[in-house]
């Protein structure tokens, strides 16, 4: 078990972390490159930056649009995201690992806050799954990954919570820790290839939507040529 654990948090972690970072950089680059190409092609290059900024902020810090549309779901989702983002990055034990391995560190969460954020992330993830199952419109449009993601995401939270807060025997501790690291590694690998890619693409959404309506000029002729419709009546 110990050698498995060493492997999971050593080479496997480094590999999955590299996939995460390179994968996210790749999709981020492709998104920005696509937007840049669209901008170059657009006939109208004016961009309503103020509107784009204001709408982007509305969603990056979603307070304004919560109350009138699925308020319970929306608040649960926000609270879930807060723990999901803060705990893995700012947990004292995680920062200590970074310090030990690469020599860098940053601020950490107080123990009590980390404790409650972990609990809330687990609770709200379960609530979101239940909401998805029982809400008629949600369940109708949901794919498998929409149910599986919250389940996968709370595994490292549950196992991490057990290791950090419960007195378990060393063997069980090692098991939970192995599960913690393996599930974390799996999440890292999957993020760039699934909907969780929104963690880096979301700030670009409003720019992309605005640019999508900025059509290139003179496409009528090009499309007619490609589709062999030149001179065809309307």
């Amino acid at each position: 078990m110990e050698s498995w654990l060493e492997f999971a948090r050593g080479p496997l972690f480094r590999l999955s972390f590299a996939i995460l970072i390179l994968g996210l950089l790749r999709i981020l680059f492709l998104d920005i490159w696509g937007a840049y190409k669209a901008y170059r092609k657009a006939g109208d290059k004016s961009m309503p930056w103020k509107l784009i900024f204001s709408r982007s902020m509305e969603w990056l810090f979603p307070v304004k649009r919560v109350a009138h549309n699925r308020p319970v779901y929306s608040i649960f989702s926000i609270l879930f995201h807060i723990g999901l983002i803060l705990v893995p990055i700012f947990l004292f034990a995680h920062v200590k690992l970074w310090k030990r391995s690469v020599g860098i560190s940053w601020m950490t969460l107080p123990y009590n806050l980390a404790y409650w954020l972990t609990v809330s992330t687990i609770v709200f993830a379960i609530a979101l799954i239940i909401g998805r199952i029982f809400n008629k419109s949600s369940s109708f449009i949901s794919r498998k990954q929409d149910y599986l993601w919250p389940v996968l995401l709370i595994i490292p939270f549950i196992t991490g919570f057990v290791c950090a807060n419960l007195n378990v025997d060393p063997k069980s501790y090692q098991f939970f820790m192995l599960m913690h690291v393996l599930s974390g590694d799996l999440i890292f690998v999957l993020i760039p290839f699934t909907k969780i890619a929104h963690c880096v693409l979301m700030p670009l959404s409003q720019v992309v939507c605005t640019l999508a309506w900025k059509f290139p000029p003179n496409t009528d002729e090009d499309i007619c040529t490609t589709l062999n419709k030149k001179g065809a009546p309307v």
Binding site: L30, D44, S142, A197, H198, S205, V234
Partner: protein, 487 residues
């Protein structure tokens, strides 16, 4: 959180197809709008070819690539969609509708989709899927309200717009829109209402006489005047159906003395291309530009029409030279500006009825014109009330996205599409509903009639015409009018 679901009886009425069974059989397409005959063979392949051609020559690929990675299926859009709120049918959820096209894109235009499809031998585009898209994309009013509620920023309106465009390239588009556009681009009259120039001139002369009778002011509709400040393009149907809006606009120009004109070379602001084909959108925008340049006008002025305003404002720079394109303004912007400058006087309390303002989606959704008409109305309406939600978050009239011009789906528009709007109008208790858009006006009139709401639907300038105060120097004393007590 659904609030309004239509009854089974209403649903039956709304979704009843008026198309003959033999036509449906011949066209192999069961939709409620009429379609001109088209090649029914090999539709999936031709759909994919059209899709590929459009992707090659447009900016949609970038957006689709972004959307397929972002969609979280949270279903917040369901709460804002007035069609889903009315039908309660999950197939009307905007995210579901978008997925129809996104899944085709994912399967046929991404490496992952192609590999998966080849390995599993599944997911090919089928006639059934084309049928579903042809139905679903025209159930949507393209109001884009859902796009405001998507945390992932997915613009479902854009996807519907693209879906309709691709379908139109294989011949699937409402006949009403195609026939009108054909007349506008290739017909003798060059406008969607088929109004010949002599008839236009007669109408305007008649309106001028009418206005002189009413106001004793020579209010003119200048025709083919060169080098004016504004070249005017209303929704051409206004010349037939919205005389009072046009009279109000002419009255404002008479009061301010600014120069404007209507061109007889081309005078139609309507652009159905926005609803079904970017190629037509481009052709029509270029015609507007051509006429404005012929008349050497400084600005393009669009009348009371949401989609005409949006197509000109947002696509004139696209197709006609970017920054060098002629500036486009909507008539409400002009009227507001001259009123603020003190060049337009309005009689306070000219309208005593309870008045509410309806925001056309194409004008308000992008926060373009929201407060100006409200300020104007409050200046001369004693009893102005606000409908909630409004402005950027307004509820569509139910006839958006070109659906209002498809007469055969009127029961759908007034039972399903406009259900939420009807509830909102009822709740406001307004006696006069101001809708500065030719499409909204037509839909709202049909809506209040079919839903039995006692409310008059008018344009903003219809009311301005009633409230306008002319300078004494403009008022002509009539010949038989006694001039004081001379005798």
């Amino acid at each position: 959180m659904r609030t309004t679901v239509v009854t089974d009886e209403e649903r039956k009425k709304a979704f009843k197809s008026l198309r003959k069974a033999e036509v449906v059989e011949k066209q192999k397409l069961d939709v409620r709008y009429h379609i001109e005959d088209f090649d029914v063979n090999d539709r999936p392949r031709r759909f994919l070819e059209a899709f590929a051609a459009i992707l090659k020559h447009s900016n949609y690929k970038m957006a689709l690539d972004h959307f397929i990675k972002m969609s979280a299926k949270c279903s917040r859009c369901a709460v804002t969609c007035q069609v889903y709120q009315a039908t309660g049918d999950p197939k009307d959820i905007p995210c579901y509708r978008s997925e129809l096209l996104l899944s085709v894109y994912r399967r046929h235009f991404t490496v992952g989709g192609l590999l998966k499809g080849r390995l599993l031998g599944s997911g090919y585009l089928t006639d059934e899927k084309i049928q579903e898209m042809a139905e679903s994309f025209w159930n949507c009013t393209a109001c884009r309200r859902c796009s405001l509620e998507c945390p992932s920023g997915i613009d479902h309106g854009l996807i519907t717009h693209l879906g309709r465009y691709i379908l139109s390239e294989i011949g699937i588009a409402p006949r009403a829109l195609v026939v009108s556009t054909r007349e506008q681009l290739e017909g003798a009259t060059q406008n969607t209402s088929a109004i010949p120039v002599p008839a236009l001139k007669d109408t305007l002369e008649f309106l001028e006489d009418d206005m002189f009778e009413e106001k004793s002011v020579h209010i003119k509709f200048p025709i083919d005047v060169e080098e004016t400040d504004y070249v005017f393009f209303p929704a051409v149907s206004d010349f037939l159906m919205e005389a009072e809006s046009l009279m109000g606009i002419a009255a404002v120009f008479t009061a301010t003395g600014d120069s404007w004109t209507t061109g007889t070379g081309y005078f139609d602001g309507i652009n159905y291309g926005l609803f079904y084909s970017d190629r037509m959108l481009e052709r029509i925008v270029k015609k507007v530009d051509e006429e404005a340049r012929r008349l050497k006008g400084k600005n393009i002025l669009i009348g009371e029409c949401g989609h005409a305003s949006r197509s000109a404002k947002y696509f004139m720079p696209t197709y006609c030279g970017g920054k060098d394109a002629p500036p486009v303004i909507n008539i409400m912007e002009y009227t507001y500006k001259v009123w603020k400058e003190g060049r337009l006087k309005l009689k306070p309390d000219a309208i005593s009825e309870r008045v509410a303002y309806h925001d056309p989606c194409n004008i308000a959704r992008q926060r373009w014109i929201i407060n100006q008409p409200r300020e104007l109305l409050k200046a001369f309406c004693k009893n102005y009330v606000e409908m909630t939600p409004s402005g950027e978050n307004n509820i569509c009239c139910g006839g958006g996205g070109g659906t209002v011009s498809i007469d055969e789906i009127r029961p759908y528009r007034t039972t399903v599409g406009g259900k939420l709007k009807a509830d909102q109008i009822r709740k406001s208790g307004c006696e006069i509903l101001v809708a500065p858009c030719a499409n909204c006006k037509k839909q709202l009139r049909e809506l209040v009639e079919d839903q039995g709401i006692d409310c008059q639907v008018v344009g903003l300038h219809d009311l301005i015409y009633k409230a306008i105060i002319f300078d004494d120097s403009l008022v002509t004393k009539k010949e038989n009018e006694p001039e004081g007590k001379e005798d």
